[in-house]
């Protein structure tokens, strides 16, 4: 009897949580490879994810070109080319003290780095200056990348009022306040 009661209570609680977890969606112009994320929520912290995404260097390019991760994430940097590469970033969102150089490693090897600071990381290779990649480090787990048409959808966002930031390479980031009550909608038109 007690077990049944607890199970029922859990189901009700789960339904209640699901009901309060909404989405934020919209479009970003320009479209592809834009990032949208919920900015820092005062008084709220999130556990670092255990997944370690891979930023590859292949064919003299960073792949993916843009990656968005939650702060505290460890990114694996892989060299898939038969030439030597390097990864460094001169700053994170302009803060040069956070610049870092990962050095050199051979084909097939990975080198991890944990991003503990929020901001935009401009990845460069000091032997192939044309190579560029970006890691956007978000303070929240609520983020998304746009598809080819510029559409995005951030899921599992609790109801509330948030500052939502849109970012695109070479554009000025744009912040909008969004009320999420089941769903929230925000379209962005970024400019240089």
């Amino acid at each position: 009897m007690t077990r049944s009661f607890l199970l029922t209570l859990s189901l009700i609680a789960a339904v209640a949580v699901t009901a309060s977890a909404g989405t934020i969606e919209g479009t970003v112009s320009p479209g592809k490879s834009s990032v949208v994320y919920v900015d820092t929520i005062q008084g709220k912290t999130f556990p670092a994810p255990s997944q370690q995404p891979v930023m590859d260097q292949k064919g003299l390019m960073f792949s993916p070109h843009v990656m968005v991760v939650q702060v505290g994430t460890t990114v694996e940097f892989l060299n898939s080319d038969n030439v030597q590469h390097n990864v460094f970033w001169p700053s994170i969102s302009g803060n040069k003290k956070l610049g870092h150089n990962l050095g050199t490693w051979p084909k097939g090897d990975k080198r991890p780095f944990k991003f503990d600071n929020v901001g935009v990381v401009s990845l460069l290779c000091n032997v192939h200056p044309e190579m560029a990649g970006y890691i956007v480090v978000s303070s929240t787990p609520y983020f998304a990348e746009t598809d080819a048409s510029g559409n995005y959808k951030i899921e599992n966002v609790p109801d509330g009022k948030y500052n939502v930031v849109a970012w695109h390479e070479g554009m000025k980031p744009l912040t909008k306040s969004v009320d999420v009550s089941g769903t929230g909608k925000a379209d962005f038109t970024l400019s240089k």
């Binding site: 003299l60 080319d81 038969n82 030597q84 050095g103």
Partner: protein
Amino acid sequence: MRGLSFRASKGFLPLLVLILLIVSSRQSLAIPAFSRLYGTSCSTCHIDFPKLNDFGKAFKDAGFKFPKDDESMLKIPPVMLGAPANAELWPKAIWPGTIPGIPPIGLRMNNYFQYTGTSSGKFAALTPAGTLPPFVPTTDFETGFFSIFTAGNFGSDIAFWVDDDISVSGANAVGELGDGYLRFVNIGRLIKLPKNSLNFRVGQFELELPFTQARSIWISPYDIYTQANIGAMNSLVPLQQFVNNDFQMADVGKGVEFSGGLHTGGYNYSIAIIDQNTGPIGQDQNPGSPYIPQATGSNNGGVGVASNADFKDIYASFNYRFNLEHDKESREAIQAAGPTGPRDHTYLNFGTYYFYGRSVQRLLGATVDNTSSLVTAREPFYRVGGNMTFNYRCCLQFNALYMFGHDMNLLPIDSTGALIPLQNLSSAVPVGFIRSTPATFSGGFVDAEWLAYPWMYVMIRYDGVNSTADRINGLQTNPSFTGAPFNGPFSSTRNRITPGVQFLIHANIKASFEYQFRPSQTVVIATNPVTGLPMAFNPFHTNTAVAGLEWVY
């Protein structure tokens, strides 16, 4: 004699010669087409274009392609000249091959500004009475090259390169082909030789010099590479030499080359067999001769002949490079793995080179029985020397090269066996030659090149060329002085210190500045009243500042 008059004419416009030396120092450049094909920056292969970094050397060694996984690096895939399945029909052939996906063409343009100090009016004393002295402007704008170049790989390790100066100094009439060759990479595999031990090149190419002049970052040419060996010809100086060898190490050669090894570590060698053409005017300047068979003067070019003798000159070089990285894996890689990224190796390179040729001079003479005959002086010559480079990582390099030049000196004799004074050669009848004191010179250069920033190169170089013949030819012993006046009057000749700095405005736009300090010189020799020896009167320096702006695209 044609040769004598040619030498005489060379002395009258010394600064023009200087300018020509500066702007005619052939500098084949990086290939922007590679940037397009691979979607990569110039700095992938160049430190400061056209100077290659270690990866660029490996790229060139491999036949203008990435040493590994070239296909996966190409952003513009090559065009197949036949389905790959054709290769199954003839598995040991390399037919049908590929061509680059876009025409691999690059263009280059440069401009110069030159400031020449002190010399204005100084050479007036050299001109005979009644003739206008040369005027040398202190400042001068000068256009350099407008060049087109193309290079790439046809697949199956067959590489090609062509560069041609469409115009030089704004005049398209003097443009010329630089290098134009096919290079068969690693053909040693066909006879089971170790990898990279044998390549074959055919066409026209700069010799595999220890330090390339054609792809040097210096505006100022290496003086030793432009040293011809003209024997002592000053008729008022007793020692006379019948040596008229216009060969310069910087000259391109037409022929074939066998080479091997790598330029990124270990040994490399080159053995080239090229046409001989050491005269002031090559036979190729005389097309349309009725004595040239049609097979040579074909409808696909090749009009005339390029040699002035049957002999083929031989060039050989050998280098060994010691990479000094501690870590073995890094030491043997194309680039070293530095803590902040891959970079050039720290290395020490030693090399030696040798050139053997025969200079030919033909005179209208007679046999001993007084029958009119062509008499030919075949004067073997050689150039030999060594070179050294110490390179510290990306940024600092010291280079040194030494060369010794030696030409056999055959003096014409008449039917009595007596020497014919060279100033009387046009009126005498030579029947043969006897060997005399050889004409020699020596010299070289040392330089230091420092990459202060990825966009800024700081350099300094010392050039020295010591030629007794040049000094004698340059002595003012009569009013019709005909020598090159940039020689030191009493000691060695053509010494120069040249500091320079270069800025990469863009990866493909470069501003260069060099200042050439020359030794004290004079055009007037007086007699020291105390010692009775000749002394320089009113000596001066002719220093030159050159600013260059060049771009490739």
